[in-house]
Amino acid sequence: MSSNKPQDGPVRGPQHEPREGFSRRTFIEGVGIGAGAVGALGAPERVRAAGNDVLGPDPVSITLNINGKSHDLMVEPRVTLIDALRNRLDHTGAKKVCDRATCGACTVIVDGSPVYSCTMLAIEAQGRRIETIEGISTEDSMHAVQTKFVEHDAQQCGFCTPGLVMAGKAIAERNPRPSMADVESGLSGNICRCGTYVGVRKAVYEAARGESA
């Protein structure tokens, strides 16, 4: 006989793991100090520094600075930045796809660096400058990377697009003269299923270099 019943223990709270596969926690422990894991591992220290012994499992009040605007919200400490953005603030441009720091669909820019928002806790994003796809364009004017995405048909279903645009924007801001290899390397953390890389590479390359079509 087999059962999917979990081990005895509390049936709520962050210590309770999903039934199958990696949990986010064991994943982070497994990979050690990765780019996305730094923030998560820093959480307890920060909390202690603030004079708190325990954080959660009940919701806590946090403030996030998103696209230059301050947002107050209540979230459980385990809530990831992607879930806070999408489920609490209706910023649905960033997508949740792999939910474990592989595909880049959830990419947002935090303090100038592209970050997998599925692997950063919302509480850890406090006090940091969060830029999402919603913040880089208006209906009338798009960021150069976005304009180039349209020009080179760098999108099909479009589900990976916001993440690729944000990764592309970060590449462009860091390197005004990237080679195509630099572009490929900068995009290597983002996955597209429809197969749009031919257009994406051209779009990011030209946008970074300020080239017109």
Partner: protein, 720 residues
């Protein structure tokens, strides 16, 4: 005989066949496009599935008592019940809902399901072992063409080999799922689907099976899908999770979102059947193919599935002696779903790879060998032209060498090719075009845009017909309340929707011309709509701008209707295309790593509507092809019956740096008179065979099974 509905002659086309940017491009690039997963409705609950943890078993207990005490629990519905059998890990058993996503995870994890385990089998490549486990059933045994024994006697050279492809999975980035809002008698479904018009009846049928719900009319169900995040053949039905989601919404009196988890998406919502086979193929010394014989087997889950059409493309029944046997292997893995060009990618590997091996044995250049036998195909002229064009694009003459003759050093370079075919007949479609007194034009139908460019193609067709520009047209699709149009599968959408739109637009314009003719004092038949004006052919001074022409309508809105098929509606579409692809690869024989240098593709699809989106379909096919040729496979463990890589770090897709250079050529102005033919499937067929052939050319041996991972490449080298 020409009709008023026929496509304009090439000299009269200002938009059709040209390069246009995707009309929904800005919305997607800005992250403003709303997908089903993005819907956040007031009071919405979040649902999750509880699925089978065993590959084969009977449910002996479902205990939700602990789950119901979990913070945030709002309800659950059973999909299966005690006594039901599960046949693969991930089988949907029940759905729960809670107030937040986090609580939904807690609730689902607190449900306990107990199973009596039954024997399982998940291995498909070793057909002998599968047979011993009583998992193999004959599926096909066809003998066609000239006498096989005589043909083998006449062959000067034969090759016998083993070839195969592993099970792969769709891995749609937007997982399967939907938001359902059941309010009173009305059910609104934001479904991630390839079949907007089909979902209402599918859901109504599923709900009506539940006696406690009673009969539900499809008319009360409204499906809304303006955007969807990838389907590739896997999203035609409402599925158990859609029905459960609707029941939860009714029960809770609130909207409910249920999107599959990533591991569920990979385990149960995708799956392209494997195919393996022993193939024997023979030719005369001059390269004329005389016989093809295959014994193949495949799995697509418990029901088997996956019989490839063999021999592929080269299948003339009068001149090629042929025999194809197929066996189905039943496995306890997630059931197969249609994947772009079902069974054709497998057939291409099982035909084009043995052909390449035979060319090598005959000491012939495969380009010459494939061309020489083009008469065995349904489209000799198309393929000969395309092979030459593609060879030019990849630099075949300069770069090709005899098999294995790759020079010194650990990195070997090689070229390979493959041919493919597909039907792509138009699906049924109805369209309503409206012309408003303010000059506004809308195209309305319950179709969908999977990312293939439906918004753009319909804009082009209507704008071309009315002498307007693309931004002048508003395309309304993605709602089941609009005129019914077919599901997007099998490359049927562009042929069906472009024809219904053309006819509807011609009909609407005719009505407008009637009004304009009266006010200009000319015959309606003398009027043409071009460059934003309606004017008389006989006297261009009798002219109105589009806006002024529409003003003559007063307060009346014109509606033009068009459908596909339509016997009197002109020659607008067709089916049956050919394409050729060639790959240039490098293989490091020390590490086994294969690198793509370049892939070239030439594709015929009759009349191209939007060149840019058409090319994008081909680029996408090639990139997906690099994935399943080199990296992708669903790996199952016999001991536990589980998929070992239902995630995106170990189920590997191609990245931006993996694809090399790509060049696409659409054949235009050659077969335009055939009308429009679909593009989604054909280019998705050949990449695996072309890449495998290039690897064989590079390293001098065949790596039998795709994906061509480093271990398989090294094993093949070690066997020489």
């Amino acid at each position: 005989m020409a009709t008023k509905y026929d496509w304009p002659a090439v000299e009269d086309r200002s938009l059709i066949g040209k390069r246009h940017h995707r009309v929904d491009g800005p919305e997607k690039a800005r992250g403003a496009a709303k997908y089903s997963y993005d819907r956040n409705l007031d009071g919405m609950l979040v649902a999750r599935l509880v699925t089978s943890t065993v590959p084969h078993g009977r449910i002996i207990g479902i205990d939700t008592s602990a789950a119901q005490r979990v913070n945030g629990y709002k309800g659950h519905v059973n999909i299966l019940n005690v006594g039901d059998e599960v046949q693969w890990v991930g089988t949907e058993i029940l759905a729960i809902c809670a107030d937040t996503e986090e609580h939904a995870r807690d609730v689902a994890a607190a449900v306990a399901v107990h199973f009596e385990e039954l024997p399982h089998w998940v291995k498909d490549e070793d057909v002998k072992k599968a047979g011993e486990a009583n998992r193999v059933k004959p599926a096909k045994d066809d003998t066609k063409g000239p006498d096989l024994a005589e043909a083998w006697n006449s062959a000067d050279a034969t090759v016998e080999g083993y070839y195969g492809l592993r099970v792969i999975t769709h891995c749609c980035l937007e997982p399967h799922g939907q938001v359902v809002d059941w309010t009173g008698d009305d059910i609104t479904v934001y479904a991630s689907t390839q079949a907007v018009a089909r979902i209402p009846a599918d859901l109504a049928k599923g709900l009506s099976r539940d006696e406690s719900i009673g009969t539900i009319s499809a008319d009360n169900i409204h499906v809304i899908t303006p955007y969807m995040g990838g389907g590739f053949g896997s999203k035609f039905n409402i599925d158990t999770w859609g029905i459960a989601c609707a029941k939860l919404s009714k029960m809770a009196g609130k909207p409910v979102k249920l999107m599959l988890d990533r591991n569920e998406e990979l385990m149960v919502a995708g799956g392209r059947p494997s195919d393996y086979g022993n193939v024997k193929i023979g030719a005369k010394q001059d390269g004329t193919l005389v016989a093809y014989e295959s014994e193949t087997w495949s799995t697509g889950g418990i029901a088997g599935r996956g019989s490839p059409p063999l021999p592929y493309v080269y299948n003339n029944e009068e001149r090629l002696a042929q025999k194809a046997r197929h066996l189905n292997v039943s496995t306890n893995i997630g059931p197969a779903r249609a994947w772009r060009a079902p069974n054709h990618p497998q057939a291409a590997v099982l035909t084009m790879c043995p052909m390449e091996d035979l060319a090598a044995k005959l000491d012939m250049d495969p380009v010459e060998f494939f061309k020489k036998n083009a008469d065995l195909t349904a489209r000799p002229e198309v393929y000969r032209y395309e092979i030459d064009k593609c060879a030019e694009m990849i630099g075949w003459k300069e770069k090709w060498h005899k098999r294995g003759d790759s020079g010194p050093g650990p990195v070997k370079r090689g070229l390979g090719l493959s041919l493919h075919t597909w039907g792509g007949r138009p699906h049924d479609s109805t369209c309503e075009v409206r012309i408003q007194p303010d000059g506004g034009v809308s195209v309305n139908m319950a179709s969908q845009d999977l990312g293939v460019g439906t918004y753009t193609t319909l804009s082009v067709v209507a704008a071309e017909t009315l002498g307007l520009q693309i931004p002048d047209i508003k395309v309304n699709i993605g709602s089941s309340k609009l005129p019914i149009s077919g599901a997007s599968g099998g490359s049927t959408t562009v042929g069906g929707t472009s024809a219904s739109t053309r006819r509807a637009t011609v009909n609407a314009l005719e009505e407008l011309k009637g009004v304009v003719a009266e006010s200009l004092g000319v015959e309606a038949g003398d009027l043409v709509a071009k460059e934003g004006k309606i004017f008389a052919k006989s006297d261009a001074s009798k002219s109105l701008s589009w806006q002024d022409a529409c003003k003559k309508l007063g307060t009346r809105t014109i509606t033009g209707h068009g459908k596909q098929p339509d016997r009197d509606g002109g020659k607008l579409n067709d089916s049956g295309v050919g394409g050729v692809q060639m790959a240039d690869v490098s293989v490091d024989v020390e590490t086994g790593v294969v690198t793509i240098n370049k892939i070239a593709a030439v594709q015929d699809v009759g009349l191209v509507i939007c060149l840019e989106q058409c090319e994008s379909q081909v680029y996408g096919s090639l990139i997906q092809g690099v994935g399943w040729a080199l990296y992708e496979e669903s790996i199952y463990d016999q001991a536990t019956g589980k998929m070992l890589n239902p995630d995106m770090e170990f189920y590997k897709l191609a990245g931006a740096g993996d694809i090399g250079e790509m060049e696409v050529h659409m054949v235009q102005n050659k077969y335009d008179d055939r009308g429009v033919i679909g593009i989604g499937e054909p280019p998705a067929i050949s990449p695996g065979a072309a890449i495998s052939n290039a690897v064989a050319n590079a390293i001098g041996v065949r790596v039998p099974t795709l994906p061509l991972t480093p271990d398989r490449v090294l094993a093949a080298l070690a066997n020489t």
